[in-house]
């Protein structure tokens, strides 16, 4: 699972003999831990690190790639002992335990530099805790409804923008013998995405944030309204059956086979859908519809990040690496379609020509006035996220239990946020 590759300065010096010398000569060892274990992101990261190494021949860089799921538990060990100089993680509340335990380095100084302050302003909020910044983002991606355009055309449907249109569309899809949405809730978080959207559209971004921070009761009527909207879809048979048994990948074939018309998912779902044989003529994207016309649209756009552990030994080189990662050129390069296929965080970068990335970028930059959320399990504290997503899953299977579920979440809220 672990793999290492070393790039010694000597090996690289030959290949970059003509590169311009860099002003500040960095020396020593730079150890980088990555959770980008899937083949494509891994290759992207390794190529990026090679480019960084080429600029700093005096630096001995050691990269360790750890399986994405295993990383989530291993990070607790390696932040305290045998610490790397740079490590990947996630923004917002997800980094809070490590910030509070003093394990992440305060990098506010980087954010004060004009290069970063001017170009990365949009993600600054997600990296800020207690008024300080604790890392830099390197990629983010939009969420939204990916749908089968050919099925919509066959049924004479167009992209909905309001809740009424959404329900009318869904009714027609159900009548044609399909499910409106595929979803696999075995690992719970997919249901969190649905809750994010329904609640942000029903009650707005600020309310959603307050709920994630434990400031609002789960038995509040506004929360109940969110669930009532959700129940409308469930009762009409909008979701595939037995979704509690599937992972998000296992739910993909329903859409590929045309048994379901759409999928509320992050942009990472596009690659497997294409690989499964759907062409860009069959596959399209629309922004989740407005429900309450009085609240501004807000979106989920999870951000992946780089951090410097507080116990790192080569912080100077680590800072230089962070500057390099967020630079406009690198951002364009690593987020393009051939690499991560996601959105660059630097405003000076260009977005890939891919139609989903273009639509996502437009949506996030001009049609998300309410704000940008990370994702339910990154915005809410881990414990609350776990309990609530279990509740969402139960609700999607047994919508009539809603009062019991909300009472349970309320009890959990009282316990979790008290300290």
């Amino acid at each position: 699972m672990h793999s290492m590759f070393k790039r010694t300065a000597a090996a690289l010096a030959a290949s970059v003999a003509f590169a311009a010398p860099v002003a500040a000569e960095l020396t020593g060892e730079l150890r980088i831990f990555l959770d980008t274990s899937n083949p494509a992101p891994r290759a992207t990261m390794e190529a990026m690190i090679e480019r960084f190494a080429a600029e700093h021949p005096g630096l001995e860089i050691e990269t360790t790639v750890i399986d994405r799921e295993a990383y989530k538990t291993q990070i607790r060990n390696f932040l305290t002992a045998d610490t790397p100089d740079v490590a990947t993680w996630y923004a917002a509340n997800r980094m809070k335990p490590y910030v509070e335990a003093g394990l992440f380095e305060d990098v506010s100084d980087l954010w004060a530099e004009p290069e970063i302050a001017d170009n990365l302003a949009s993600t600054k909020g997600a990296m800020t805790i207690d008024g300080k910044q604790w890392g830099v983002p390197y990629t983010y991606y939009q969420w939204g409804v990916y749908y089968r355009k050919d099925i919509f055309d066959e049924l004479g449907l167009s992209e909905p923008t309001t809740w009424e249109e959404e329900l009318a569309n869904c009714q027609k899809i159900v009548e044609s013998g399909r499910a409106c949405y595929t979803i696999g809730t075995k690992f719970l978080w997919t249901a969190g995405g649905w809750f994010d959207y329904l609640n942000m559209r029903t009650n707005g971004y600020d309310f959603h944030n307050q709920l994630a921070n434990g400031e609002i009761s789960w038995e509040d009527d506004r929360v109940k309204q969110t669930f009532a909207n959700w129940k409308q879809l469930i009762d009409m048979g909008a979701f595939i059956d037995n979704h509690q048994t599937y992972s998000w990948q296992e739910a993909l074939p329903f859409m590929v086979n045309g048994e379901a018309a759409a999928y509320l998912m992050g942009n990472f779902a596009v690659a497997p859908l294409r690989e499964a044989g759907l062409t860009d003529d069959q596959l399209d994207f629309y922004q989740f519809v407005a429900i309450n016309p009085d609240v501004e649209l807000a979106e989920d756009a999870p951000t992946d990040t780089f951090h410097i552990p507080a116990n790192a030994s080569n912080k100077e080189a680590a800072r230089e690496f962070l500057r390099f990662v967020v630079s406009a050129d690198e951002q364009t390069e690593i987020n393009n379609g051939a690499n991560l296929g996601q959105l660059p965080v630097n405003a000076q970068s260009s977005v890939d020509d891919d139609k989903f990335l273009q639509q996502g970028f437009t949506m996030l930059s001009s049609n998300s006035p309410g704000g940008v959320a990370q994702f339910w399990d990154r915005d809410a504290p881990a414990e609350m996220a776990k309990v609530s997503m279990e509740g969402f899953q139960e609700f999607m299977v047994k919508p009539d239990n809603v009062d019991r579920i909300l009472a349970k979440l309320e009890r959990a809220r009282e316990r979790i946020y008290e300290n």
Binding site: T73, Q393, E394, V397
Partner: protein, 308 residues
Amino acid sequence: MTIAADAPEQESWFHRNQQRIAPWLFLAPGLLFFMVYVIIPVFQSFNLSLYEWDGLGAAEYVGARNYEDLYWEWVDRDAFYISLKNNLIWLILYLAAIPAGLFIALFLNQTVWGIRLYKSLFFFPFVISQVVVGLVFTWFYDPTFGLLNELLGLFGLGPLNVLGDERFVTYGIIFAGLWPQTAYCMILYLTGLNAVDPEQIEAGRLDGAKGARMLWHIILPQLRPATFIAFVVTIIGALRSFDLISIMTQGGPFGSSRVLAYYMFEVALSEYGFRMGYGAAIAVILFLIMLCFIAYFLWSMYREERGH
């Protein structure tokens, strides 16, 4: 020089006590490791269960708060209650592996051509990893293309989503667990059957014992040691049931297939966990339950020893 000459007459302390010390010396490495890896961690867990600790920051002493929370979860019919209830179901139903193993062993305890192959085929599920068993059964139960629903369909029944329905999920997982566990019990009984005294069977036969009576009065008493071991490993196996749950359902749907061991992992070590103190409190409860059985096993072994 003179002092040295006196020395051999006086036996050294070690020499005098050699008989008493030697066993302890031989036991020392084992005792040391048992202390370090078993006894001390037990007390550490007890201690940790009185704290609230996320594994990173400072631990905060909260007294019996964690146990209080567990109590309220019990009262509210919440996760802890479900885990405990499922543990009980596991304990009871998992014991079915013992009679099942016995009957397969009796069935295979004959000399026909190729019996070794049949025996190894029956033993096969115990050899393969639990993870594989879990995956195979997950596919077997799959609601859309699983074999189970195909079979039920033949009789006009179903479809049944075993792993997605909170009423069936625990039974579905236990059934998967019984597959390798039965094989384990079978092998225990097969070795036991080798040691059955043929003279006693002969004597029984002369007295007219047959079939069930022969099994109950002549064979089973001689299989007592095998039954005892099968009982021990099955009870322990039921209480440690973790891997199958983790592979097949992750405790779902909505937490209805959790058992204490899995709940402890979820609370303390999983992606959304890190309530170390709370996890330790669950571990202590699990330990106390196991202690009842361990005490019983030790006691019956002690009785056995004295009997001889």
